[in-house]
Amino acid sequence: MVFMNKTLGRHLREAVKSLGRNAWMSIASISAVTVTLLLVGTFLVIMMNLNNIASNIEEDVEITVLIDRTADQNAQNQLESKLKNLEKVENVQFSSKDQELEKLIKSFGEKGESFKLFEQDNPLNDVFIVKTKVPEDTPVVAEEIKKMRYVENVQYAEETVKKLFEVVNVSRNIGIVLIIGLVFTAMFLISNTIKITIFARRREIEIMKLVGATNWFIRWPFFLEGLFLGALGAVIPITVLVVSYNSLVNIAVPYIQGSFVELLPFSPFVFQISAILLLIGVLIGIWGSLMSVRKFLKV
């Protein structure tokens, strides 16, 4: 590190020169990083979206309390205050049967038109939508509400949610394992390719040491070279990711609107992923190059 600031210019020059001199090897390393980061990026996008959906659903766990049709306004108000007084309940919302029908029609999209027939004679109940403070309390609260008067039935999606969480967890673990595997493969490939370029310069390194170069003086150009390889390897994946996620959002959003599935918005998300990919690329490159120089510094 010692002479870094004084000779940084020289090291940069050397690194760029070396990239050009070993053009084919550089291209090989860059493509290794590119392929890895493409896969890692895709996994990251899928995983983070799954996560997002899962936590959306977790937030959406709510109890639908169907109010008995015989209940008058007074009974309804009583029920509402009773629900609100429950300790674990966060809020209670009233939704008339007309509103419920509207929601139903909306959720079916274009096919929902056929439900409009029911507008004449609505078979649905007026409902209270109850949200608990903690999603895990949902079953307990639901049982409690079921016992109250003027409650016809109680609906909640606990089972589905549980299953969904299991699926998300399993796929997340698989994703992490795959990503780690891929990253290691890329590191291995890069350190090998750099090793080959260094092998050709073994004599050079030996002479450098004999003339009195410190290890860091020799290492810096390779360090920077690895950094550039990683960063260049990240360019294509990031571009692909930005473009394809943009079009994915544009195409998919109209279809899935209104359903519980929701894509993360383009703006902060894609840039976060890009930064992560760039960081992974650079780290892979640096690690790969340092690993391969290490051997040749022992003269």
Binding site: V2, K6, T7, E204, E206, I207, V211, T214
Partner: protein, 152 residues
Amino acid sequence: MRRNIGVVFQDFKLLPKLTVYENVAFALEVIGENPKNIKKKVLNVLDLVQLKHKARSFPDELSGGEQQRVSIARSIVNNPPVIIADEPTGNLDPETSWEIMRLLEEINNRGTTVLMATHNKVIVNTIRKRVIAIEDGKIVRDEARGEYGLYE
């Protein structure tokens, strides 16, 4: 430690992809010398070994003697108190060897200790400097104006 000692090798050990100038300058870059001084010092020392006109040539464009002179220039460019020369004439013909020896002598006259290993009998006998003979890692002879030993 390598920075306080200049080393000259039998096989020159010049960087093949650098020019003569760059090879000599490298020894200074390595120790973080500032660029202005580098130019001055390198040109000075190339002048001393009479290779200023070849500054832009690459090592493989030079003869063996010239390459060895570049190597010497590199070893003295940062003014070390001691130069170690490991058979500097081993790969050269007798004529060129003398050129190198004259150069080393001149460097010596400027106040730098030159420690040289050699098996060249003629050189040792002619130049008449302090001779140390080593056998099996032990000093067996140390003479102020010695000759090449008969048994060696």
